[in-house]
């Protein structure tokens, strides 16, 4: 190719959807109304940070720099307030984990550094996962709240990774809205389907089933999926 090399950074559309999902997960981890506000402020900061790239690409470097400053300030403020917010210690820790995870996701798709993008997003997702498990352990969230949190965590990871891969292939300047939205709908659809099944399972009043039996059942399902994957791989290599 000629001198037309693309800026291989995560695409804006995919990054925005990943940040939106991450903001929702942070909101799920909030146990106080003020924490929801803090999550909202962090989300605004995150979008300003993302928008700065778009503004700078159009030549408004000073305005873009200003957006970076305001965005970073809001994120730092949210991190600080998340740690000092009212509530029990464990709830504060969980929420602070959420704000930290969101900051990691934002810095991953911004990106702070291209080679760190995947690691930052992975780190953020692990913190989200641990925060959700911790939340379920220390407090008594509804099954819907927890499933929403888990589902959106996976969607966050999926959209962020998709944005990185798409950016690597076509760069930031290509139009990616339709592909990103299609991928988002697919990912969200699977989450809704899985979540619905989980709620149905949760709502069914079954006689007490030994936990060992459930674990075995889950293991069997995983094994089945693994076998199907392997079979699919062989079929692909055959083509």
């Amino acid at each position: 190719m000629g001198a037309s090399s693309a800026v291989k950074q995560p695409t804006y559309a995919g990054s925005a959807l990943a940040v939106l999902s991450a903001a929702c997960v942070t909101g799920v981890l909030a146990s106080q109304p003020v924490q929801v506000s803090i999550a909202g402020a962090e989300a605004i900061g995150a979008f300003l940070l993302l928008g700065s790239g778009l503004v700078r690409r159009r030549g408004h470097r000073v305005f873009g720099g200003g957006l970076i400053f305001v965005g970073c300030s809001l994120i730092c403020l949210a991190l600080g307030l998340g740690l000092l917010s009212p509530g029990k210690l464990f709830e504060r820790i969980v929420f602070f984990g959420g704000t930290l995870a969101m900051a990691c996701v934002v810095l991953g798709v911004f990106p702070l550094r291209q080679s760190w993008a995947g690691s930052l997003i992975g780190f953020g997702i692990v913190i989200f996962g641990c925060g959700l498990v911790f939340l379920a352990w220390i407090s008594d969230p509804s099954s819907l709240q927890l499933l929403l949190g888990v589902g959106l965590t996976i969607v966050t990871w999926d959209m962020a990774e998709h944005a990185i891969a798409l950016g690597n292939d076509v760069g930031r300047s290509a139009r990616t809205y339709s592909v990103t939205v299609t991928h988002f709908i697919g990912s969200l659809g699977i989450g809704l389907g899985g979540g619905t099944i989980a709620i149905v399972v949760d709502s069914v009043q079954l006689p007490a089933i030994p936990i060992a039996a459930l674990a075995l059942l889950l293991g069997a399902v995983l094994l089945l999926l693994l076998v199907l994957f392997l079979g699919d791989s062989e079929w692909l290599s055959g083509t």
Binding site: V133, T182, I197, A215, S233
Partner: protein, 427 residues
């Protein structure tokens, strides 16, 4: 070539299921255990969707097929899904010619295409001298889960809907060979007297001499049969010499074509002009190896020369580390001198950014070959080093001109005005 790969991106869902189920069991939290179902759903996601079927039709058009140097050319690419299934995640990267720069838009595009639907995108490139071939368009299709990646290239394969080349020819002005610049015939003398225009001698009639050559007036006066001979005019062959050494692969900027590409473009235009006059043309290419094709005329010869020239068009620029008047390069010049026979006119295409071009043409001139130098100026003046190279080059041009060797100091943005004047001198 089509490649099908698995990204295995949803393997992470297996890890997630193991984490939530283990945590659920350890913490005795049924809700956490329940979230494993979500993980299982995502782990099985790729199994719900099949790999994408990539059946596509490409169309590429340009606003101007033969632009001038520097003209903006808008390229429109249209992709149609001719397959039976929807392509959820299609990524298209058009193969912009290697030496051209995209000035507006992007040659990369994405789309979701249902069967029978199309997507179009445009980008603008700045035309540069030469014949530029579009590379195959790369198409990457993912299934909606992103688990399967199919990558393929779409080439023209004779399809008329795909514009494959962009011709940006050099505006060659006042072209003439040095021998043509001389006003009188027979400047290339031959010992043998045959049919020609310039009188050479009268000799005694020999059996078999043409009736038209007999001097009938002399016969009427003296009764002696004599034959008039004219000086035979041998056609001068032209050898195009291309400086394609690593040191000559030098560009004014990272987005600019290098000197060899400009030399090739100019040589192509000269070949085309000589072909119109059915001149005997040969080619000598100085590079990592010496390529030589003896002068002759004919369609096949011109095609071979074109191919030899084009082979060096896409060489990549590297840094210049001083003059490259190595034995190897000068040996190639010596080989050329031993190869050429008879009356040959030399046209050397060289950027003259090191001493090779000047030394080579001086040697050829010393051996009596009429030489002309075409030198594209690819020097810059942003740094002291660049300015120094520019001054050195200007000195070489002047030194050659002082030896009555015509040199075209050609700025690629302007037409190439041939340096040979109308009276055999240097313009």
């Amino acid at each position: 070539m089509t490649s099908v790969d698995r990204t295995h991106r949803w393997r992470v869902a297996f890890a997630f299921v193991l984490f939530t189920s283990t945590a659920g069991l350890y913490l005795e939290a049924p809700l956490v255990f329940l979230t494993s179902i979500l993980g299982v759903a995502y782990a099985g996601y790729p199994l719900f969707v099949g790999p994408p079927t990539v059946d596509l039709e490409l169309s590429r058009t340009v606003t101007d097929e033969t632009p001038d140097h520097g003209d903006p050319v808008t390229v429109t690419v249209t992709i149609t899904n001719t397959g039976p299934r929807t392509l959820a995640d299609l990524r298209i990267i058009d193969g912009v010619p290697a030496l051209l720069t995209v000035t507006d838009g992007t040659p990369r595009h994405t789309a979701t295409l249902r069967p029978g639907t199309s997507t179009s995108f445009q980008y603008t490139i700045a035309a540069k001298h030469g014949s530029h071939r579009f590379n195959p368009t790369t198409v990457i299709a993912h299934d909606i889960s992103g688990n399967t990646r199919v990558e393929t290239e779409i080439t023209a394969d004779g399809q008329t809907t795909i514009r494959e080349e962009l011709e940006c020819t050099v505006d060659l002005q006042a072209f003439q060979l040095r021998r043509q610049a001389r006003q009188y015939a027979g400047q290339t003398p031959a010992d043998a007297g045959e049919s020609g225009l310039e009188f050479q001698q009268i000799r005694a009639y020999q059996h078999g001499d043409s009736m038209h050559r007999i001097d009938w007036k002399r016969y009427a006066r003296t009764g002696e049969l004599t034959t008039v001979e004219f000086r035979e005019e041998h056609r001068t062959a032209v050898v195009l010499c291309l400086d394609a050494r690593q040191n000559a692969i030098r560009a004014a900027g990272s987005t600019e074509p290098h000197a060899v590409a400009y030399c090739v473009a100019a040589a192509q235009q000269v070949t085309s002009t000589l072909e119109q006059h059915s001149e005997q043309v040969g080619v000598a290419i100085f590079g990592s190896e010496f390529n030589w094709r003896a002068p002759s005329a004919g369609r096949e010869q011109y095609a071979q020369i074109e191919q030899l020239l084009v082979d060096h068009e896409y060489d990549q620029p590297i840094s210049v580390d001083g003059d490259d008047i190595t034995m190897s390069s000068m040996e190639q010049v010596q080989r050329l001198i031993t190869q050429i026979q008879g009356n040959v006119e030399i046209i050397l295409f060289s950027p003259l950014i090191d001493g090779f071009g000047k030394t080579a043409v001086q040697q050829l001139d010393a051996h009596g070959y009429a030489a002309t130098v075409i030198s594209p100026d690819v020097t810059a003046d942003e740094t002291v080093c660049e300015e120094f190279v520019s001054i050195e080059r200007a000195n070489r041009v002047q030194m050659l001109r002082n030896r009555d060797i015509p040199v075209a100091d050609w700025s690629p943005e302007k037409p190439l005005v041939w340096p040979v004047g109308h009276h055999g001198g240097v313009s």
